[in-house]
Symmetry: C2
Subunit: 430 residues, 2 copies
């Protein structure tokens, strides 16, 4: 019987792994809670009304349809039965495996304050992005109707927590949306009064980048009217307020981008995770001490011998790991060779600051400004899987670049339960 | 003081009325529950994953931003205080008016069986379309995992209730989605086994069209594999089942398109509506017997002198009425002239059957087939407000026409309350 390889999660790691195993002798199953692969690095563009969810998402079935040995399963993992070598799913189903690949990603880390999430959501899912977009636009609608100047100013204030690439991209996109795109839409409020505040605990924003690029980002963001508060630890987030030390900032919208924690892989495997919940893996990406189980991407803790530091939670790390493991497993099936060690090849680090401004860091060299922005746009359009998406997204971006228009400014409020309903047809008597 | 004209609803009628009054001396307010105008005739394309919501929706503010005398208000009408000449909104606000224009559209009519709505939703909102799309795709995901052939067949069966243009368009789009687009995505199920059943009470589908066009539609739909059941009254809809006479059809997805009823305008105005809830209006579109209140579009009952029948609930009727009333009110402000009578100019009736097939009826002449389809596509791309939308939608359609791809096949389940949250900032002591 063919080896049953089960991959959980169709993000960058899981999808790359399934693709590398496509049309091989293995019997591959990929399981995800969603029916689509999401290009999370562009999710902030959905949240700020520049793109639609379908522009950055592709049905998993479509991406893998050429591979007859890969089965796609819609389901949610609730546990792993290691002795029986079976997965437990939310709907009660059990999926047996010979090799298990866990690529279930991460969620935002509120560092012991889970109650902040409600008031300051992060961006991980299409629903997050849609909700944030609605909240942002709705705050401005309310501001337009508000007669009290202080309340109006509060509604027009957005606070982004976290000065890493996520926070910088979000702050830049919000400032552009509120200052430029909405500028002509409202008659009562003056969008120039919209405030975007970026809060960072450390002394610099983009602290993982060379200082020169961090400084450049700071200058550009300030030039866009964004207020940057470094050395500012958020101490409390309430409904519409952020407290930094003694100061309380009233805000219409608060966005969290300050840190991630791994999915509950450690719990499923019954091992101890690190502070961020990651599970230690060997250099062949197998979980330490657990036979036949592999952990990839944001959930894996692997020290990079080149830097002596854990590999960061980046799409390129996840994608390379998935591809490496898929090829390695494929080769082992054919030749019986042991799995080779994974080596991360750093493709460079990037952050987009706004229209016409981005930074790149390749270690040995760096780049900033308009050319960096163009490079970023080309790379990201290329990375979006699927030709149609590339065509549409390029057309949208070119159009919006010249017009400052954002086509997806919809407040879609979902008052009803939107989970798809499925009816149970009675089984025939047998 | 300028005359305060308040328009409720930013559909085809309300938007046309506001535009016609744009940059006039009137003080215009347009109120809608949503921040966008929705091109409802293409909503079925969102439900069948061919378009994204943002492709067929435009922010109301953007559409009206050139007109400084038009105020856009996000709000939901709950009643009209006729003696005080004020509107009551859900959030407790009251809006005074000198002239009131009610253009609040319609919802689906379940003819005394409101409990059917849950199992057989209609298509009126973006949320409806998204929910239906999720339900449809999720049924196929479940079918892929189902081992019992009868249950599998049930999950792959879609029933569309109502053989008018809405039902015909929906059935055609579902058949294309399930038979062509999904065909290569699944490995276990055979999409050729997908059934689409169109149920109509009367003896013919498209009964408002000339018989020749109805027959053509019937042939084309049958050729696409759609089962048409005429003379079949739906007697019961339960979870996953539709009963016609004694026969119970098991179905994964049921869609309602069998009739509309007006929004509660009659209730708000304290008058008697007709069977479909419509309020009788004079030929200048003012509500009969109520000073200063106008009713437009699907909520208005106006006998067309040309046919001696009530004007149908079509986008073109609504749009012409809104435009007529806006111009008439504008002229009255300038010259004091009484409002002229509205005359409907029939632009022709159309229904799209599927790829390469549509019907047109202009009374004196008619058209069917591929040229009609092309004409339909050109008209609809043109009607979509906004240049960017036209460009994007055209590109998507051309691409999809040649590839059978549908880019928006996302199951986005909204488990959480998605209503935008807005925080109340304490008012300063005053």
């Amino acid at each position: 019987m063919a080896e049953r390889i089960v991959i959980v999660g169709a993000g960058f790691a899981g999808l790359a792994c399934a693709r590398a195993l496509g049309s091989s002798d293995a019997d591959v199953t990929i399981i995800d809670r969603r029916n689509y692969h999401l290009f999370v690095p562009l999710l902030y563009q959905v949240a700020t009304a520049a793109l639609s969810p379908a522009d950055i998402a592709q049905p998993i079935r479509r991406l893998l349809r050429r591979h007859k040995n890969v089965k796609v399963l819609l389901g949610e993992l609730t546990g792993v039965d290691l002795p029986a070598q079976e997965l437990c799913l939310r709907d009660g189903g059990r999926v047996p495996y010979d090799a298990l690949v866990l690529a279930t990603g991460s969620s935002f880390n509120y560092f012991g304050n889970p109650e902040w999430e409600e008031h300051a959501p992060g961006l991980k899912t299409v629903e997050d992005a849609r909700r944030l977009r609605s909240r942002l636009l709705y705050a401005f609608e309310r501001a337009e109707q508000e007669s009290d100047p202080e309340r109006q100013q509060a509604l027009m204030t957005s606070v982004v927590v976290g000065g890493g690439p996520t926070g910088v991209e979000m702050a830049g996109a919000i400032a552009e949306l509120t200052r430029n795109t909405l500028a002509n839409d409202f008659h009562h409020i003056d969008p120039a009064r919209a405030r975007t505040i970026l809060v960072e605990t450390g002394p610099h924003i983009l602290s993982t980048f060379p200082e020169e690029l961090g400084r450049y980002a700071q200058e550009r963001l300030t030039g866009m009217g964004i207020e940057i508060r470094c050395n500012s630890a958020v101490e409390e987030i309430g409904p519409g307020t952020v407290r930094i030390g003694e100061e309380v900032l009233p805000a219409g919208t608060v966005i969290w981008g300050a840190g991630i924690k791994a999915s509950p892989v450690a719990e499923w495997l019954g091992v101890e995770g690190d502070r961020a919940g990651r599970v230690a893996v060997n250099d062949d990406l197998s979980a330490k001490g657990i036979e036949g189980v592999f952990v990839l991407g944001d959930s894996a803790l692997l020290i990079d011998p080149a830097t002596d530091k854990p590999l960061p939670g980046l799409a390129q790390v996840a994608q390379q790991q998935g591809n490496h493991l898929g090829r390695a497993l494929r080769k082992r099936l054919q030749t019986g060779e042991p799995l080779p060690a994974f080596r991360f090849r750093d493709r460079g680090n990037t952050a987009i600051i706004g229209r016409n401004a981005a930074v790149f860091d390749w270690g040995h060299s760096r780049m900033k400004g308009g050319i960096a922005w163009l490079l970023w746009a080309i790379i990201h359009v290329y990375l979006l899987s699927g030709f149609e998406n590339r065509m549409i997204v390029s057309a949208k971006w070119v159009w919006r670049y010249f017009t400052y228009q954002r086509g997806s400014r919809l407040i879609t409020s979902e008052e009803e339960e939107q989970k798809p309903v499925i009816y149970d047809h009675p089984r025939p008597e047998s």
